[in-house]
């Protein structure tokens, strides 16, 4: 009986293994052949992938001293390596990767970079206003986005909300929101609300909302629910028990996530102007258009200092919170 069971388990794992190996080999061969057609190189690559797959399937049976025989599964690291090689080759073909360009024209890289690293300090007075705009946009966006995120994340956590449908609907919406790049949201906002800081703030609100909600519902699910249940059993309402039993547990994490979101937002807000959503990005776009890379250097230097200050403050506060 137990012998049979063991054989079943072995058979199942063998089938799963076989599927995995065939899938990996198929992806590898597809990458090798589809990216560059049938050339000698791609054929060699595909053949090597097949060899690696066969190697991964080869099992060895060993006889132990006590008479039992065990089957050692094949080693699939070679196959994974070949798969990676296939994918890299396909990516290089698809993106037109050409190392010789870097060697030939590499010196061009330093032309702009050199000027960026010699900032034009006379330009500083013009940087102040957009810089303040960027900071204001990210603060307001972070506060509003994070505030909206708190109730939503409570609804989206499985240990407080027992209704599976609501939880999963909520999570899918959050996932879709998170996949939209901030620049695309900002572009839409700039088209709908007109150019300026309001559009940027909207984009930051959406971005912060998505990120903080996800991090929050993940950490709400790890809290200790004992106190919550005890309060419910005493007859407290769901909200009352959440407020006094769960809030103290999640508040430090929540505040720390808010600060983390603020850190990210300052960086994000700086480039939003690139699509017309106000702040430093507007200035960057303009300086690049004028080919005034020393002015651009000044903008970046100001941003660097602000990011450094905000990051240090927020890291200090987050250390205090934990």
């Amino acid at each position: 009986m137990s012998e049979n069971k063991r054989k079943d388990a072995a058979g199942k794992s063998l089938a799963a293994r076989l599927t995995g190996v065939i899938l990996m080999a198929a992806i590898g061969i597809f990458c090798a052949l589809a990216s560059q057609g049938v050339t000698p190189f791609s054929i060699v690559l595909a053949a090597l992938t097949v060899c690696a797959a066969l190697h991964a399937l080869r099992t060895r049976t060993m006889k132990l001293q006590n008479g039992k025989s065990i089957v050692q599964p094949g080693n699939s690291s070679l196959l994974i390596g070949m798969l990676m090689a296939d994918i890299v080759v396909a990516s290089a073909v698809l993106t037109g990767f050409d190392f010789s360009i870097l060697v030939r024209r590499g010196h061009q890289f330093f032309v702009i970079l050199e000027q960026i690293f010699q900032p034009d300090f006379n330009y500083f007075p013009k940087v102040v206003d957009p810089l303040l705009d960027t900071i204001k946009m990210s603060i307001l966006g972070s506060v509003i986005g994070a505030t909206l995120a708190l109730p939503v994340s409570v609804i989206a956590s499985t240990n407080i909300n027992r209704s599976g449908v609501v939880v999963w609907a909520q999570r899918i919406v959050l996932m879709v929101i998170r996949t939209l790049p901030t620049l695309v949201i900002a572009k839409f906002a700039a088209l709908i609300f007109g150019l300026g800081t309001f559009a940027g703030t909207m984009a930051i609100i959406v971005f912060t909302f998505g990120v903080v909600s996800k991090m929050m519902y993940e950490s709400i699910e790890t809290i200790d629910m004992g106190a919550f249940e005890a309060m419910e059993s005493f007859g407290a309402s769901k909200f009352q028990s959440f407020w006094s039993a769960c809030m103290p547990q999640i508040l430090p994490t929540y505040l720390s996530y808010c600060l983390y979101a603020l850190e990210m937002n300052i960086r994000a807000a700086a480039i939003l102007g690139y699509v017309g959503a106000g702040g430093l990005g507007l200035l960057m776009d303009e300086r690049i258009g004028w080919r005034d890379y020393r002015g651009l250097g000044m903008v970046l230097l100001a941003l660097f200092v602000v990011v450094l200050i905000i990051e240090q403050t927020s890291q200090y506060l987050r250390k205090k919170l934990s």
């Binding site: 993106t95 890289f109 996932m175 879709v176 709908i192 609300f193 309001f198 960086r267 651009l296 941003l303």
Partner: protein, 299 residues
Amino acid sequence: MQKQENQTAQQAALPRDARYDIVTKYLTRPKLWWLYTLIVLIVFALISWSGSTVQYKGLAAKGTEIAKGIWNGLISPDRSLLFTLNEEGAIVSPFINVTPEGVPYQLLQTVAIAVLGTLIGGVLAIPFSFLACEKIVPKWIAFIFNVFILLIRTIPSLVWALVWIRVTGPNAFCGVVTQSICSIGMICKMYITAIEDIDVRILESLDAAGCSRFQKIRYGMLPQIIPNFISTVIYRFDINVKDATTLGIVGAGGIGAALIQCITSSRWSMVGAYLFGMILLMIVIELFSTWIRKKLARG
């Protein structure tokens, strides 16, 4: 102040064991109301300060029209970009649209940029992270490299792309080199944490067993850091795919270029098709990366 004195008096008046009573504990709990008030005041001050510039000036001239267009585009995306269609609009073989203008090709290119960028960035980050780790090199060297890494991180990826466009021209290759540089910052930060978390006792015991330097690295260090490194690189790959979609805005290849072009020319059904593809790709990649990282963490 008065209140607190009262409480201390109350406490002293109680019999000794009652001092540990739950009611007494509750009455004498630390009161931090001034701290909370301060935080609330600071937050309100910040909000009102930032609210001064960020003002709602109503919708743009064609705002509602554009919003409607975006919504319609998302609901009914341009199917010809996604699939191969015949004249009647039915899907025919080879099913997905494989031309360079089609969404699948653009998505593949975006992923390819992220793959190469992350890989090169991950390899370049290894020497930097060892040189910026205070446990391995003297403090001043670590400090110099930390500042260098911070510099790399502060320059936005769009600016890096502009710097590289001079070298490579506006194509997908530019996206690859841009992402290789941009990834270094964050990958280094996480590599350094992984290196600092190494259990030194294992190295010491290998030392005691008489292992050579190479053996110590091979059997003592690598098994500890490699899962962390791979997990970091996969996490960054996740982020890079997202970034690669926006790099196209400055002409560095990927789906972003086509998307922005369609947005500026108000072809909303095409925008819908591109967004649909992007959302699908990002969800698949996120699920995949979470799955692999979970597997790695469990060993």
